[in-house]
């Protein structure tokens, strides 16, 4: 199990020498306890203490980087089983597969799609991460040629999938300096593959049917000098994957089996239902998801799901406070008040845009809390509303002085009228009812 900061502190020199970059040994201990610092930063630690603390303070799931340069992807370094316990840190890399039996045109079109796909959502650019090249031709040369077609790893991170040592050697001769992910070391071939991975400094996937077998092989690979490993539990079904991935992640974070403290690899195409498998990997602990080409609709849904699940629950995506024009409002359009919780904002905007009803949407800063919780917690007050009306010059945008507030903010209606001098109308609680409400109730 993880050690508490004070227990770690006992093993530190207590000199507060600052050589680790932190002001005191205790501050360093606190960083170590949360996996945010490396024991190696302390130059005065004796080897015994270093070994002891190294085991308990490194992130329970090792951070592994695949690829090089701008598009490289770092996975792992996770600390919890459920995102509400803290957050998930490193979204899984989604790698689209190509086969070395395909034509050049087919390979290039997938590579192009991975390189060019960008989904813009709430200020973030969501992308596919790389290309997985599958050796199905039986030819090492063909494999190497396809790896070269896929950019050789210089632009997009690659996964090299084969069971032929000669094919790996040929492919790594082209792509080896760009840290491609090698798939996969098994009980039979781990020794030469670990040697290759070590030679090129490439991350290596270990594949076996049970956590115990995975642990046995990763331990040997680690001993052979390969630090960056992934685990492929070779699931037979989605349920099988969820069960074993949960077991692996739990062993890792409870530190009951250090040889399972690596990111998980999921072949989403192997289970028949690609979309379900991709979603499962995103929800349940995958570090790398290899998938057949996805339709545009699936791609956007998958990337959005990944963004949602890897959003820090402590820092919800917030909307910038201000006045937002919806459907080109004029001076007689209604003014609607709401909070800067992204769920609330986007839901309301969705319904308003669909209704084609012009209006001004006034967003106040409730620190990302919903209407209900911000009213209950005092984060939405009449003073804030008055300040926001003034700050954003709402009175200059419209000829009327009527403010529609959310149904859940009804308790504040009198106070808002007093504080702002605007007439307050209490709107519906549910955004879905807004268009109808406006149609019936709004007349200037």
């Amino acid at each position: 199990m993880a050690m508490k900061a004070l227990d770690i502190y006992k093993h530190l020199p207590k000199t507060n020498c600052k050589k680790c970059g932190y002001p005191t040994c205790l501050a360093f201990a606190m960083k170590l306890a949360t996996g945010k610092a490396d024991v190696e930063a302390c130059p005065d630690l004796d080897p015994g203490a270093k070994a002891l603390l190294g085991v308990v303070t490194r992130p329970p799931v090792r951070a592994v980087t695949i690829g090089a340069g701008e598009r490289s992807v770092t996975i792992g370094e996770e600390f919890v089983l459920f995102r509400h316990e803290k957050t998930f840190y490193h979204p899984p890399g989604i790698m689209v597969e190509v086969s070395d039996t395909w034509t050049e045109v087919e390979v290039r079109s997938v590579v192009e799609e991975v390189r060019e796909t960008v989904v813009h959502r709430v200020g973030q650019d969501l992308v596919l991460n790389g290309v997985a090249v599958r050796n199905e031709s039986g030819s090492a040369d063909r494999f190497a040629e396809t790896v070269r077609l896929a950019g050789g790893g210089s632009s997009l991170p690659l996964v090299l999938i084969s069971d032929d040592l000669a094919a790996f050697e040929a492919a790594l001769a082209i792509s080896g300096q760009y840290r491609p992910l090698i798939h996969a070391a098994t009980a039979d071939n781990w020794e030469p593959l670990a040697a290759l991975a070590k030679q090129y400094g490439s991350p290596l996937v270990v594949r076996a049917g049970t956590p115990a077998d995975l642990a046995a092989i990763t331990a040997k690979c680690a001993e052979a000098g390969v630090a960056d490993l992934l685990l492929d539990p070779a699931p037979g079904s989605l349920q099988g994957y969820i069960t074993v991935a949960t077991e692996i992640r739990r062993s890792a974070i409870e530190r009951t089996e250090p040889a399972l403290g690596y990111p998980i690899y999921l072949d989403a195409g192997a289970l028949g239902e690609t979309d379900a498998a991709v979603a499962t990997g995103i929800l349940k602990y995958a570090g790398i998801i290899v998938t057949p080409r996805l339709s545009r609709a699936s791609r956007e849904a998958a990337l959005t799901l990944r963004q949602n699940i890897y959003t820090d629950p402590q820092h919800p995506i917030q909307v910038t406070p201000g006045v937002y024009p919806i459907n080109n409002p004029e001076r007689d359009a209604p003014v609607l008040l709401t909070v800067n919780f992204s769920l609330t904002y986007f839901t309301i905007v969705g319904y308003l845009e669909a209704s084609r009803m012009p209006c001004h949407l006034l967003i106040v800063d409730t620190e990302g809390l919903s209407v209900l919780t911000s009213v209950a917690g005092g984060k939405l007050t009449e003073t804030m509303v008055a300040d926001a009306l003034k700050k954003f010059g709402v009175a200059d945008l419209v000829d009327h002085r009527i403010l529609i507030i959310p149904g859940y903010a009804a308790p504040l209606s009198g106070k808002i009228e007093d504080a702002t001098g605007w007439k307050v109308m209490v709107g519906p609680r549910d955004a879905a009812d807004l268009p109808e409400y406006l149609e019936k109730e709004w007349k200037t």
């Binding site: 509400h84 079904s237 979309d275 699936s298 799901l305 963004q307 629950p313 769920l343 905007v349 109808e436």
Partner: protein, 303 residues
């Protein structure tokens, strides 16, 4: 995970629908819940159901669904029958959207539509009644009475308007959907309120409210996980099966603004990713609106 003995159920069993032998007219009834641990993990016993949602007034229904099902939108009983026979839904969720009209008072239609849809279907039925305190009492009484003995799943009870739903469920032998706004503690409170009103615990299904994918779905996902974990840890007031209805999914910009030839694909992809994730988080029943989503979910769940 569970500290409990392997015999103890983490989630209470709830029976939806009633066959003739059970006092109703359904050809099957379903037991949901009965799970012992985390969803999809080994000893997970619970049954997962896919509901297709239909409505009695399609004016506010997503255009992508209206286009796909065509004339069915004007006829709830044909639509319900197609949901079961053609689209393969485990059950139908009938949403009385007509009650959202201002000055709604067609209460007799509520009863007759309920009867006709029950007549047209052979599986359990979920009914989403009004959400206006002015008409709640009469709406729930009418549909409750029309389906007496059928063990309908009646929605939606909320903290400040649960009495009408609860009263209809108690009077006519139905179940209650208890909806709370993405909050574990509020979910628990509402279950306690319902229990104090006399609704038996095995007649409550939790609806933690589901935001659309890309629009806060992660909050719903985590609340479902937390409710399930609380139940596994032994919290009896949260040990009910969950229902998830990501009803905003087809109203989002990505679906609305998709090119005409991509509308169905976009709608189905977004519904599928959301609904499937809700199952992974622990939902026993997930409601969707596009018929093609039903087919894809069924295929995955049966694999």
């Amino acid at each position: 995970m569970s500290e409990n003995s392997p015999d103890k159920l983490a989630i209470r069993e709830v029976r939806l629908g009633a066959t003739r032998a059970e006092g109703g007219t359904r050809e099957v009834s379903y037991v949901i819940g009965g799970d012992r641990g985390l969803p999809f993990c080994g000893n997970d016993a619970g049954r997962r159901l896919v509901a297709l949602e239909i409505c009695d007034d399609p004016a506010i229904w997503p255009p992508v669904v209206r286009n796909y099902v065509g004339d069915l939108v004007n006829n709830p009983e044909d639509w319900a029958q197609a949901a079961e026979r053609r689209y393969g839904a485990d059950l139908v969720r009938l949403n009385f959207t007509s009650t959202k009209k201002r000055g709604f008072n067609a209460f007799a239609d509520i009863a007759s539509t309920t009867e006709r849809v029950l007549e047209a279907t052979t599986r359990p039925l979920i009914i989403e009644g009004s959400n206006d305190p002015q008409v709640d009492s009469e709406v729930f009484r009418r549909c409750g009475e029309a389906g007496e003995g059928e063990r309908l799943l009646l929605g939606t009870a909320e903290a400040d308007r649960y009495r009408s739903v609860a009263a209809a469920a108690l009077a006519y032998g139905h179940l209650v959907i208890a909806q709370s706004p993405i909050d574990v503690n509020l979910a628990k409170q509402l279950n306690i309120l319902l229990r104090e009103t006399g609704v038996p615990e095995d007649r409550i299904v939790i609806d933690p409210y589901t935001g659309a994918l890309g629009y806060g779905f992660e909050y719903s996902y985590s609340v479902m996980e937390r409710i399930r974990l609380a139940a596994i840890a032994g919290d009896d007031d949260l040990a009910m099966p969950m229902i998830s209805a990501p009803t905003d999914t087809l109203s989002i910009r990505e679906v609305r603004e998709a090119a005409p030839e991509e509308q169905d694909a976009m709608a189905v992809a977004w519904e599928f990713y959301t609904a499937y994730s809700a199952f992974v988080a622990g939902a026993s029943v997930v409601c969707v609106r596009h018929p093609l989503t039903v087919e894809r979910l069924k295929k995955v769940l049966e694999a």
